[in-house]
């Protein structure tokens, strides 16, 4: 390994500060969201940290209307899988986009979101 591993805590701390961090395989170039030990594609362990811009498009989305305990006060809320421009995807909560304006292919941009001290990956208007 050429750099220290990006643990979940590092990823979340960076995200809280508004920065998304990916890892790129130094052997085959595959891009992933950390944490990850071996590269799924080439089975090597040569990750390098790469900043992700946060811009992407919605791959699929839903509007949650029945929430788990702790999220009841937040319904209805949107959750989407977003493919980032760099080619890796991330799941997050929709922020500041009318729920009836959600559609696959819509451009969005990452923004950190904190609810009751818990960090969420958020996606707002591009």
């Amino acid at each position: 390994m050429t750099e220290r591993a990006v643990h979940l805590q590092d990823f979340l701390a960076e995200a809280r500060a508004g920065r998304l961090t990916g890892i790129r395989c130094g052997h085959c170039g595959a891009l992933a969201i950390p944490p990850k030990e071996f590269c799924e594609s080439c089975q090597q362990r040569e990750w390098q940290t790469v900043p992700l811009g946060g811009a992407g498009t919605i791959v699929s989305y839903t509007v949650i209307r029945v929430a788990p305990r702790g999220h009841g006060g937040e319904v209805p809320y949107g959750v989407a899988v977003v493919r980032l421009e760099e080619g890796v995807s991330l799941l997050g909560r929709i922020v500041d986009i009318p729920l009836d304006a959600l559609k696959s292919g819509r451009p969005v941009c990452f923004r950190p979101l904190e609810i009751s001290g818990q960090l969420l990956i958020g996606f707002g208007p591009a």
Binding site: L8, L12, I33, V59, S60, Y61, T62, V63, I64, R65, V66, A67, P68, R69, G70, H71, G72, E74, Y77, V79, V81, S89, L90, L91, G92, R93, S104, I115, Q118, L119, L120, I121
Partner: protein
């Protein structure tokens, strides 16, 4: 490897119960042992599945408890947890223990009890089966996961909410014929289409219910099973895993673990999808049945919705799917579901399914999916 057979099955009524998970399992297990016609002490191991007992009943270490309540306090036990695929995973390991020659007779199954806690708590506990670092904080629920799959399937193939509703109507029609089912009432397309959205595009009637229940099966080596007239053979059983992260799924319109588990099971059994006469598959949501019928090789990708609409998967259709009513109408006690599906297929292959019998069924398939489509087990069964 030795051949393995199912020689006994037992399932409790599915629905709301005031008994504990361990009690529910013990009842199903006693029925399975009686059905097998063996002495309880012939059981050499218990493979037991339960998912949420720590949360809903403050009860862990449930496998020896279930054995104690069953009256077999000294049998070695193991508890399995693989989300909704739990007892099908347990089944596969029990098959391997017998096939390898370690044991001759094993009791396998599971139980779940969640109707003793509020819906929002049950929704939370089930969500523990998704990733706790990113997905749970985002408020993703299981209906939410399958809503993402449904949207992707609709975008890619033009699958409609009405086609999904046909799955619910069909499984409720089947459930009416199953005295153990949680719901034994027919519903209409309108009932489904006018029900409230839970996670768009999935509505209340696209979702299976929360359920209490237990299920058990007795597995035996060929030598033991030869003495049993109603033995049903395990032709193949295969497990596959896919990434836990929804964001890492390569194509949300597919469940690749289903495809890989099915390929492995068909290969082991020497069968193809065309050989299968009856199927119990994991319809936790209507879209899940549509995607599973494609992944198991019964219909081309993108045509599972059409198959539901045309009635091809109905009793009397070309390939009856979920004659028990499926998770949708029979109910889904998650730790028991895999074993309950196997019990239904065994009952069908014995020709003992009464009004829901698939005539002449000789080869059956079970498919159970766990969590964020991360765990899938597929098994094939046949008569001599």
């Amino acid at each position: 490897m030795r051949r393995v057979a199912v020689i006994g099955v037992g399932v409790t009524k599915f629905g709301k119960h005031d008994r504990t998970s361990a009690e529910l399992f013990a009842e199903a297990a006693a029925d399975a042992i009686t059905d097998a016609g063996i002495a309880p002490r012939a059981i050499q191991a218990l493979y037991f599945g339960n998912v949420t007992g720590g949360e809903t009943e403050r009860q862990l270490h449930m496998a020896p408890l279930a054995a104690t309540l069953l009256g077999l306090p000294t049998v070695p036990t193991t508890r399995f947890e693989n989300a909704c695929a739990t007892s099908h995973v347990a089944f596969r390991h029990a098959v391997m223990e017998i096939a390898s020659g370690v044991s001759d007779v094993i009791l396998v199954g599971g139980a779940e009890r969640v109707l003793n806690v509020p819906t929002e708590s049950a929704t939370e506990f089930f969500a523990y089966c998704s990733d706790a670092s990113l997905e749970q904080p985002a408020g993703l629920t299981f209906p939410g996961v399958f809503a993402l799959i449904a949207r992707a399937h609709m975008d890619k193939y033009g699958t409609t909410e009405e086609q999904m509703a046909h799955v619910a109507v069909k499984n409720h029609r089947h459930g009416k014929l199953n005295p153990k089912a949680q719901f034994q009432k027919e519903i209409t397309l309108d009932t489904v289409l006018k029900s409230a959205y839970v996670a768009d595009p999935l509505k209340l009637f696209d979702c299976c219910p929360f359920t209490d229940g237990g299920a058990a099966i007795v597995l035996a080596s060929e030598e033991v099973a030869r003495k049993h007239r109603r033995a049903v053979w395990v032709l193949g059983t295969h497990a596959a895993t896919d990434t836990m992260f929804v964001h890492e799924k390569r194509d949300l319109s597919r469940v690749t673990a289903t495809e890989r588990a099915a390929q492995g099971a068909y290969r082991q059994a020497g069968k193809t999808p065309a050989d299968v006469n009856v199927v119990e598959l994991h319809d936790c949501f209507t879209i899940a049945e549509i995607v599973a019928t494609e992944g198991l090789g019964f219909f081309e990708p993108g045509t599972g919705g059409l198959a539901a609409e045309k009635g091809w998967t109905s009793l009397g259709g070309k390939l009856p799917v979920n004659p028990s009513g499926g998770l949708k109408a029979k109910g889904h006690p998650i730790g028991a579901t895999g074993a309950a599906q196997i019990a239904e297929i065994v009952t069908q292959l014995r020709g003992e399914a009464g009004p829901r019998q698939v005539d002449g069924a000789s080869t059956g398939l079970t498919h159970t999916l766990g969590g964020n489509t991360a765990t899938v087990v597929v098994s094939l069964f046949g008569r001599d």
